[in-house]
Amino acid sequence: MTRIQLILIRLLLLALVLAAWETLPRQGVINPMLLPPLGDVLKTLVEILGRPQVHEAILVTAAEVIVAFVIAVPLGALIGVALAESDYFGQIFKPLLFYVFSVPKSIFLPMFILILGIGFQQKVAYAAFSTLFVVIMSATAAVESVKPDHVLVARSYGATQLQILTRVYLPSMMPILLETLRISMIFNFTGVMIAEMYASRTGLGSLISNWGENFQLPQLFAGVILLAAVAIAFNESVRFLEHRYSAWRT
């Protein structure tokens, strides 16, 4: 099957789903109260995108996501590299981290609210916390993917420590690092959404949660489409980079 054929089939499937979304509720096959037709949802999407209240929510959520990302990724990468490079710390902390990693982070949410309230800080702290562990794990795996043979080759040609870092470690780790970036964004976004839906006065999560509780389904689905579009756009752009930097990994 050629690439174009594959893309055509995917587009066809998408069109089918969207067409079903539009027609089935209109025909009454699905209750339009539970699943409003696509056309109505899109109209609502355009309408809510004009509301100042929604603009503010988007800005708040975006700020939370970005700040949490900027905290969690470098911090997690630093801890992960330290664990991988130091046998001592690795042996002590790695099992403990695996335990915490396996626990659903959402059960700690009430504690974050008790300590930090329900504002911006709490959202950021919780999202960063729920992302941190996956970054640590991946960063450790990235360091461990560096082959000692490659380091030896570089040393034999007189590489300095800095050159070993930039010319061996970094390119070896690049595919896993980009993957980490992508996955941590998913965790991070999820963290912010959960925190906002659980208890919040602003943000997209809080809007979506309200629309759901008030049975405003066209608004709810419009919110879902908006969020999905943003998440997919980020994910795909990092995946594009990942593909470019890991062509050699076969």
Binding site: D149, V153, S156, Y157, G158, T160, P171
Partner: protein, 267 residues
Amino acid sequence: MTQPHLTLVRDEPAHGAIEVAQLTHVYGGREGQVPALENISLSVGAGRFVVIVGPSGCGKTSLLMMMAGLRHQSSGTIEVQGAPITAPDPNRVGVVFQEASLFPWLTALDNIAFPLTLRGAPHAERQQRAEAMLNLVGLSGFGARYPHELSGGMKQRVSIARGLVQDPPVLLMDEPFAALDEQTRMTMGHELLRIWSQTAKTVVFVTHSLTEAVYLADEVLVMSARPGRIIDRIAINLPRPRSYEMMGTETFGRLRDRIWQQIRKGG
């Protein structure tokens, strides 16, 4: 242009290109001190092809790594081109490793140019030197391929080219063909001799294969089992250029047998 380990090289070494004197190495392991290499002295003349053979674990790879400045001996000295080796010096020594150890994210050409990149050589020079080496090892036209697109033999050719790109007088090779199939191995041995005769390098070559040792060497050094000592030095007086037909001759067989006897005694 920064040179991390710049060493003044004498025009004419007073003695051999490589001089190892009373080298001993002891590992500090869990079960105490393990002697690995014992009182090794050897001299390799400039332009000579010397092969080291010995049983697994005799320390021949360690010895080679010490000559490359990648490991430190407990005592004794190693001089290359008349100056001691204490750290890797790509101007004096090129190394070819067991598994070609190419960087999978670089093309064949960029792999070859890697040592030049490390010392910040200008792009044009890198390109030109790497292309020349690519031709030398018989891989013209394959420069843009990535390692995973090359066969095992081709990878080792790239690895040899990388070892030669800075034009060091000495080339150290650690079982470079061990992972190749028999036929490729024979071809690569032959190719290596061609490259060696074209470049006039001093080569120290470690191997398990006795046939390979006799076929390639001017001189074979036989090491004993741990602690590794040199128990025999055998001059291989077969004429050059060597040919596959020589392997069937009586002289070839006798030389191989002698090495085998020594290894059995020493093991």
